[in-house]
Structures are given as structure tokens and as C-alpha cells.
């Protein structure tokens, strides 16, 4: 217990707090924006600390007077019912991602209601988490009993006003993963949403997006979700989330959202947004792998916190966030992943090499044998 891990800077804030909570190691972060005009923790980080305080019991959190350093001694992960107004500087995705990483290890199943912005231009939107992170979570949990993510109300940046309900069962042990063949993409689905703008917007997005993707695959269906009245939040906005599903159950996800109201740049054109989202999806497909780029760290964490068994997963190029996450995992759990570049299978016959996009990597590790001792068993 005596060991204290020291870090600097505000980047990777959530990673550090989450890993600290799960490993039970005390954490100290210094020099948080110490050289900036507006030093110290921002409101959204404070909001995140509040959320963490709500799902744990006995945590000790000390923030220095200037807000540039933080001390965190984790308590027990309780979970249970939870209600949180997320800060509007970041979208709900920022908070939800962290909640998902903690959810399987709580004492009681998490039933959370989060309010705020459902999608913005920075964080993964709630749609994206629903379409790509939940399938990953499901494979580790082994079933989707009680796993639910519902968007009750949408809220665009900057006003927010959205509401999301998240329900996740807690488990004693996670299943090890062996996922090395992504299969082929069989269909593309998506959600085009719009709040407080003309309903035609969603159709314009869908048409533009189809003009690019139809060259690759005929099976494309994009739902349109035009919110009205109390379900549409406080600000106008629109966006598109796309997901490519493969024959082996891999979900590769990409999205684009409109600029927030009041931004200094030109307003977003729905057609451009549709095309951008389509291209981002193609890029995601190029990167490929069994887990998409924004969920690499999720998969890595659940692999480490699994049983004492070998887990293996194929992913595309590692994102900077993932690389830092792997380093943090080493700091907190003393686990290093084996990272191999995957060679293309040789086709000895007249076939030339298959065009499967960028390089792929195989990540292998042995779980630490983490068991959720606080979970109530009957």
C-alpha cells in the first residue's frame, strides 16, 4: 500500500485515476497545467473526480490550493445507483468511457443516469460507445444480460441537455479473449441525428455518406433520428455515427459531429459532414483489427484484469492513447504486453496479396487473475 505513483501533467488523467482505483495504488499527479495562463484542474476534471467519488467508498482525494497537484488514495468500488450531471466542457462520452472501464468490477451493478452533451467533436459520442464499446464489453462479460445503454434525450454542444441511461452487470471474473481474425465487413449501419435543426438535415447527411460508401458495399442502412421537443436538448446540432460490422462480430466505428453553436468558424454543411464521416470510417477500416482504434485501451484493460490465462487480440496501428495506456498498465499492474507485427498470410498460388489495409498487430498478455472480491455472491 505504501507505494505512491507519481505523474506529471493533466493528460491521461482518466487512465491514471481508473488504474489507480482498480489496482488500489495511491497516486499523485503534479504540474497540472502549471505553466498555462489558466493553471490547475478544469471544471470537467473536477466533475470527473466527483463521479469517481460517487461510485467509490472511502476514497481520499486532495487537490492543492492552486489545483496543479492532486493526491488520490482509492477506496472500494461500490457502484449501484448513480446520478451525475456531467460538466459541459466535455461530452458524456468522456465520463461514460471511464464508467465502462470500472463497471465490471463494482460491488453492485452500476445503474447510472448521466446528463450533459451526448456528442461533440472531441470525445466519442454516446452512439459510438453504444455501437462499438458495448460489443467489446460484452465479449469480456460473456453475455449481455443487463447490459444497456439508452439515449433518453440528445443534447448537442455547447448547451447539452441530453440524458443517457447506462446499466452494466458486475462480474466476479472476466473471460479471457482470443480474437485474432476480424473477418470481412458484411454491413454498414449508422445513425444520423439532428437536434433543433430542420429534419431534412439527416437525409442530406445520409445521401452524402452513401455516395462514398456504396462503392464498397451495397448493404448500408443509416437510421435517421430527428429529435424534437424536450428530447432535443438545448442547442442545435447534427452528426453521423457509422459502424462497419464484420462476419466475426467486429464493430469498427467512426463519426463526425457539427461544430457547436457560436463557434467562430463557418457553420458545418451536412453534406460535408456526411462525407467526412464516411472517409473516417474508411480510415478506420484501413487501420482495421478486431477492436477499433478508440477501444484499444478498453480491450487491453479487460485482458489484463482477466483470469490468469492468455489473452490475444489483433488490432490495427496503436494509437498514442493506447501506447500510454500500455505504459500505465505496466506501472500499475506490472504486466507487459507482447506486441508482434502480424505478417500477411502467404498466398502461394496465383493470387496476389489481399488488400487488407494497414499493418496489424497481435497483442498477447497473461491476466493478473483479478477477482472481484467485493461482489456479493448468493
Amino acid at each position: 500500500m505504501g507505494e505512491v505513483l507519481n505523474y506529471e501533467g493533466c493528460n491521461y488523467f482518466r487512465q491514471r485515476l481508473i488504474l489507480s482505483t482498480l489496482s488500489g495504488k495511491t497516486l499523485k499527479i503534479k504540474k497540472i497545467r502549471s505553466k498555462e495562463d489558466d493553471p490547475g484542474l478544469k471544471d470537467f476534471e473536477a466533475s470527473f473526480i466527483h463521479l469517481l467519488d460517487k461510485i467509490t467508498n472511502g476514497s481520499k482525494i486532495v487537490v492543492s490550493e492552486t489545483g496543479t497537484s492532486l493526491f488520490y488514495q482509492p477506496g472500494l468500488l461500490m457502484g449501484g445507483k448513480l446520478d451525475h450531471d456531467c460538466n459541459l466542457q466535455r461530452s458524456i462520452g468522456y465520463f461514460l468511457e471511464a464508467l465502462i472501464l470500472l463497471a465490471p468490477f463494482t460491488k453492485k451493478p452500476i445503474r447510472a443516469i448521466l446528463r450533459g452533451i451526448t456528442s461533440d467533436q472531441i470525445d466519442p459520442s454516446v452512439d459510438m460507445i453504444k455501437l462499438s464499446t458495448l460489443p467489446v464489453l460484452k465479449t469480456f462479460l460473456g453475455s449481455d444480460d443487463g447490459l444497456e445503454l439508452k439515449i433518453n434525450r440528445r443534447g448537442a454542444a455547447p448547451g447539452g441537455g441530453g440524458e443517457v441511461f447506462f446499466n452494466c452487470p458486475c462480474k466476479q471474473k472476466l473471460r479471457p479473449l482470443n480474437f485474432t481474425d476480424p473477418g470481412k465487413i458484411k454491413r454498414i449501419r449508422g445513425v444520423a441525428w439532428a437536434t433543433r435543426v430542420s429534419p431534412v438535415t439527416t437525409n442530406r447527411i445520409v445521401d452524402a455518406c452513401r455516395s462514398i460508401l456504396n462503392k464498397f458495399l451495397p448493404d448500408i442502412y443509416i437510421y435517421t433520428d430527428h429529435c424534437r421537443g424536450s428530447n432535443s436538448g438545448k442547442s442545435p446540432g447534427f452528426g453521423l455515427t457509422l459502424v462497419a460490422e464484420t462476419t466475426n462480430g467486429v464493430f469498427l466505428c467512426a463519426e463526425s459531429a457539427s461544430k457547436p453553436k457560436g463557434s467562430s468558424q463557418n457553420p458545418t454543411v451536412p453534406e460535408d459532414l456526411g462525407k467526412t464521416a464516411a472517409k473516417l470510417l474508411l480510415e478506420e477500416i484501413y487501420r482495421g483489427g478486431c477492436v477499433d482504434s478508440s477501444n484499444q485501451s478498453t480491450a487491453a484493460l479487460f485482458m489484463v484484469l482477466g483470469q490468469q490465462d492468455v489473452s490475444k487480440v489483433q488490432i490495427g496501428a496503436l494509437t498514442p492513447y493506447m501506447i500510454q495506456f500500455l505504459r500505465h498498465i505496466r506501472d500499475f499492474f506490472q504486466i507487459q504486453f507482447k506486441i508482434d507485427q502480424q505478417q500477411q498470410q502467404e498466398n502461394d498460388e496465383e493470387n496476389e496479396e489481399l488488400q487488407l489495409g494497414g499493418e496489424k498487430f497481435l497483442l498477447t498478455c497473461v491476466g493478473v487473475g483479478y477477482t472481484n472480491i467485493s461482489k456479493v455472491t448468493l
Binding site: E8, G9, N11, Y12, F13, R14, Q15, K31, I32, R33, K35, E36, D37, Y94, E97, I122, D123, P124, K184, I185, K186, I212, K215, F216, L217, P218, T247, A278, K279, L280, L282, E283, I285, Y286, G288, S293, S294, S297, L318, T319, P320, Y321, I323, Q324, L326, R327, R330, Q336, F337, K338, I339, D340, Q341, N347, E349, N351, L354, Q355, L356, G357
Partner: protein, 169 residues
């Protein structure tokens, strides 16, 4: 006494080799692949061969092992060690300490805002914490309008080419 070296000629010999020399054989290969000892062996080896009464025809076989070792080393060096890239020590020279802070009346320090360049090099300690890969900032988005680049992912779809092993047609 045991034979000091195994001549290349003997490597072609089949089952009638004794087990002890088999072991030596494998040791020898290892020596050649790893470390400097291999090169020492080589000079000895070559000398021995010159002494011996071998025909010119088998000469090409003499450096087979050397070639194999060289190829092995080349492949080894070409393969990027990603584990080392991720977990290795980060060589960052502290640029921050270089710039001298101005002092106001010998009492207060004026902190200069560091230039964008130096902060981005230092693994971005105070960047936005975000799991989503921000394309066009962290990674260049490829030009997906071009046919060439579109082709690079054509076999990711069910409509594309399948590997021979799983092709149903």
C-alpha cells in the same frame, strides 16, 4: 580427442553421424548466429579448410553458414521491436530547463510560455485527454477520394477477394 571443427562437407552427411557431433553441429550454428565467437570460429575454420584436400567444387558450401547467419541478422534488424518502442526508455532531453526565467525585482519569476514545438515533443503532458484518435492532428487522414487508396482496403469487405483457405467459390 574430439574433432575440433566440423567441416562443411560433413554437414551433408546423413544419419551415420554420431550423436555427439550432432550436438556440436547445433552448437556451432548457434555460435555463428550469436555473438562474436562465431567470427573467431570462422577464421579457424577457413584455415582448416585450406589445409584440407578438398576439391574446388565444394568450395561454395563453405560459407553457407555465414550467409545464413547474415540473413538471420538482417531480418532480425529489419523487424521493428514494437515492445521496445512502447516500453523502452524515452530519451527526452529536458528542454524546459534550458530557457532562463526572467526575474522581476529579484523576487518573482516570470514564467515564459513554452513554444508549441517543445511541448509537443515532450509527450504532450498537458494535452487534451481523449481516447478518440483525432485524425488530421495526430495522424494524417489519407485521401480517400483517390482510387489508389480506395483499393488498399477492397479485400476488407465481403465483396472483395477472400483468402484461398476460406473461399467458398
Amino acid at each position: 580427442q574430439e574433432k575440433p571443427e566440423i567441416k562443411p562437407r560433413e554437414m551433408n552427411m546423413s544419419e551415420d553421424e554420431s550423436s555427439s557431433s550432432d550436438e556440436e553441429d547445433s552448437d556451432d550454428i548457434e555460435d555463428h548466429i550469436h555473438g562474436e565467437d562465431g567470427s573467431m570460429d570462422r577464421t579457424e575454420h577457413d584455415k582448416e579448410m585450406d589445409d584440407g584436400d578438398e576439391e574446388e567444387g565444394t568450395q561454395w558450401k563453405s560459407n553457407l553458414m555465414e550467409i545464413a547467419a547474415a540473413t538471420f541478422r538482417r531480418i532480425q534488424s529489419e523487424r521493428v521491436n514494437y515492445r521496445k518502442l512502447v516500453y523502452g526508455q524515452v530519451n527526452e532531453d529536458d528542454e524546459g530547463d534550458d530557457d532562463v526565467d526572467d526575474e522581476l525585482g529579484g523576487l518573482f519569476k516570470v514564467l515564459k510560455k513554452k513554444s508549441e514545438k517543445s511541448t509537443s515533443g515532450k509527450l504532450s503532458d498537458n494535452m487534451v485527454d481523449c481516447s478518440k484518435l483525432i485524425l488530421d492532428k495526430q495522424v494524417q487522414l489519407q485521401d480517400w477520394d483517390s482510387e489508389e487508396i480506395q483499393k488498399t482496403i477492397k479485400d476488407c469487405f465481403v465483396t472483395g477477394e477472400w483468402a484461398k483457405s476460406e473461399d467458398a467459390a
